[in-house]
């Protein structure tokens, strides 16, 4: 495969992400990884559900008393929107419009950063309330579940940023198109996980 080969929108294939064998391999492998991630997060959710509101006798914090919905609502909207913006980025990738793709990715990264900031703020807030990681089985399960998601967000952002910087001068080619595509897939997956987090942890937590 030739890195220097230049493409125009007319010569750019329909599915650049799977046009080469390397791309196809990455693509399938990445989906498999997502299947494994599904099980990983399911394990975390399962543990969280088993340990929800469990703690030493006289424990102060339970889900119903702790979570505040407005913040979570804002975070949800932001992450959902970032999912859409990454779809736009891939749309432009397929049209071989590098500039537009970079722009939409930039927006996605910004939204992701805001999300991450809010999450850090939230954790910080809870810790100040006295709901620390080591307080109870419930707190450990909560921080590890939501924190793992947060770590995924952070990783996804670094991935986007690395790709954007590395390829800023190169434009799109067969070598990096699969990478952009997969990073976007990853971002959607993170969004899927968040859907369950806001449903199972926050909404169902508040409901009791």
């Amino acid at each position: 495969m030739d890195l220097n080969k230049r493409y125009t929108p007319q010569t750019w294939p329909d599915h650049p992400e799977t046009a080469t064998l390397e791309g196809k391999n990455k693509f399938v492998g990445f989906w498999l990884l997502l299947a494994a991630e599904t099980v990983t997060f399911a394990s975390l959710f399962a543990t969280y559900l088993a340990l929800k509101d469990k703690g030493p006798s006289g424990m102060e914090f339970t889900a119903a008393g702790l979570f505040e919905l407005p913040l979570v609502f804002a975070m949800t909207m932001i992450l959902l929107t970032s999912s859409l913006t990454s779809v736009y980025a891939i749309y432009h990738m397929k049209n071989h419009n590098f500039k537009a793709m970079q722009a939409w990715l930039g927006i996605t990264v910004l939204l992701g950063l805001v999300f991450l900031g809010l999450e850090i703020y939230e954790f910080n807030h809870y810790v100040h309330l006295g709901f620390g990681f080591t307080n109870s089985a419930f707190s450990s399960a909560f921080y590890v579940l939501v924190g793992t998601h947060g770590a995924h967000v952070a990783f996804g952002l670094s991935w986007f940023i690395a790709l954007m910087l590395r390829n800023a001068k190169r434009g799109l080619n067969m070598y990096n198109a699969p990478k952009f595509y997969l990073a976007a897939l990853y971002w959607h997956f993170i969004d899927v996980v968040w859907v369950f987090i806001f449903t199972v942890v926050y909404l169902m937590g508040v409901v009791g």
Binding site: W31, A35, A42, V87, L185, H188, F196, L203
Partner: protein, 110 residues
């Protein structure tokens, strides 16, 4: 072997056609997005309205499930051709995930 791609050259018309097709697709994505936002709103409203948990929880889970389907099939293109194996593994993963969650909510405390 298959390491190199076949070069394609599209005529202007073909190109315009593909591009239009993508644009339509993109509008579909926007609709999905709107639906997701809408579902999320319903979910939060339900909880804010403080209905009975027995009523809310199943609905919340249903809404989440719909969102997941939208993400997987529209944003992640799992319905496209060539995704059969991937879909199979995703569903296997979800199956294991389901069993795990089921076990933890039913037979851990007794």
């Amino acid at each position: 072997m298959a390491h190199d791609t076949h070069d394609i050259h599209r005529s202007r018309a073909e190109y315009e056609f593909v591009k239009r097709k993508r644009a339509t697709e993109m509008r579909g994505q926007l609709t999905s997005f709107a639906m997701m936002i809408f579902l999320t709103l319903i979910a939060f409203t339900l909880v804010a309205a403080e209905f009975s948990p027995y009523f809310i929880v199943p609905i919340l889970l249903l809404l989440a499930a719909i969102q997941v389907v939208l993400q997987l099939y529209h944003f992640m293109h799992m319905s496209n051709k060539g995704h059969g194996m991937m879909a199979f593994f995703m569903f296997s993963g979800m199956f294991v995930a389901f069993l795990t969650v089921l076990a933890m909510v039913t037979i851990v405390w007794w």
